[in-house]
Amino acid sequence: MIYALTVAICAASLVLMLLAGYFAFRDRLINDLVLGLAALVFLGTLAQVVIGLVRVSAIEDGTEVATFISYLLSLPLIPLATTFLAIKEKTRWAMGSVAVGAFAVLVMTARLQQIWDLNV
């Protein structure tokens, strides 16, 4: 795990969460800015998957490996799924789910880093 990447993903998903939440509140639909941010979060989590899987053997406690890998692999799917939803279904609730998804990315990425720091 690279700490800077974790921070970058958390920052990008925080901005995405706030922006998508604002869009949902104002009943605005997805635009290039939201799409770009979601793409950024997606690429960040994808990079995290590669780095995480390469270095996963460094985690000593076996039981935490399960959580680590499942979170790692789940993460890229979240911005992907919610963004597709927002493109397909043009409602404020779809933007709301982008915001909720971004929050999930934030929490799960922080948890990944926590597992890493505690067990390596």
């Binding site: 039981t63 979240i78 939803l85 409602t91 709301g96």
Partner: protein, 153 residues
């Protein structure tokens, strides 16, 4: 993730008019969409974790891992039921969840020896920010609210 259902072959009209089909059941549309997304995330994380736990070190804490797997299956079923508007399946799965998180949550405090390894539901889902406790309550509220509204399908 809600739209990739293998069973949609039998109803080709669904793909042509997704919005119409969504409003017909109403469970996975509007605010329900957000509930579906949260369920989806939980299902994803719980399933992956549970599979790895069972494959890699089942003997360490069989009860915990069986419960985790059960929870994962129920989250998948609830996500599917909400997204596709299967009201009865949604009621059953979300009710099981509510009972599960309360019983396992209580048991993990009273009988900690039974749970050497954490499950999604132990300590009322504190490891997951109490989302497993809040989510079924929200889900049941959403279901009961939907059943009062007039719906024809």
């Amino acid at each position: 993730m809600s739209d990739s259902t293998p069973g949609s072959d039998s109803t080709p009209t669904v793909d042509q008019a997704p919005r119409k089909s969504r409003s017909a059941h109403g469970l996975g549309s509007g605010p329900g969409l957000i509930i579906v997304v949260v369920y989806g995330v939980l299902a994803l994380a719980a399933t992956g974790r549970s599979i790895l736990q069972i494959v890699e070190y089942f003997e360490r804490a069989p009860l915990s891992y069986v419960l985790s797997a059960l929870a994962a299956v129920i989250y998948i079923a609830a996500t599917y039921a909400l997204a596709r508007g299967h009201r009865r399946l949604a009621w059953v799965t979300i009710s099981i969840e509510m009972v599960g998180v309360l019983v396992v949550g209580l048991a993990s405090y009273l009988l900690p020896d039974l749970f050497p390894s954490k499950t999604v539901w132990s300590h009322f889902g504190s490891g997951y920010g109490y989302v497993p406790l809040v989510l079924p309550a929200v889900g049941l509220w959403w279901l009961s609210r939907g059943s009062r509204a007039p719906h024809t399908s």
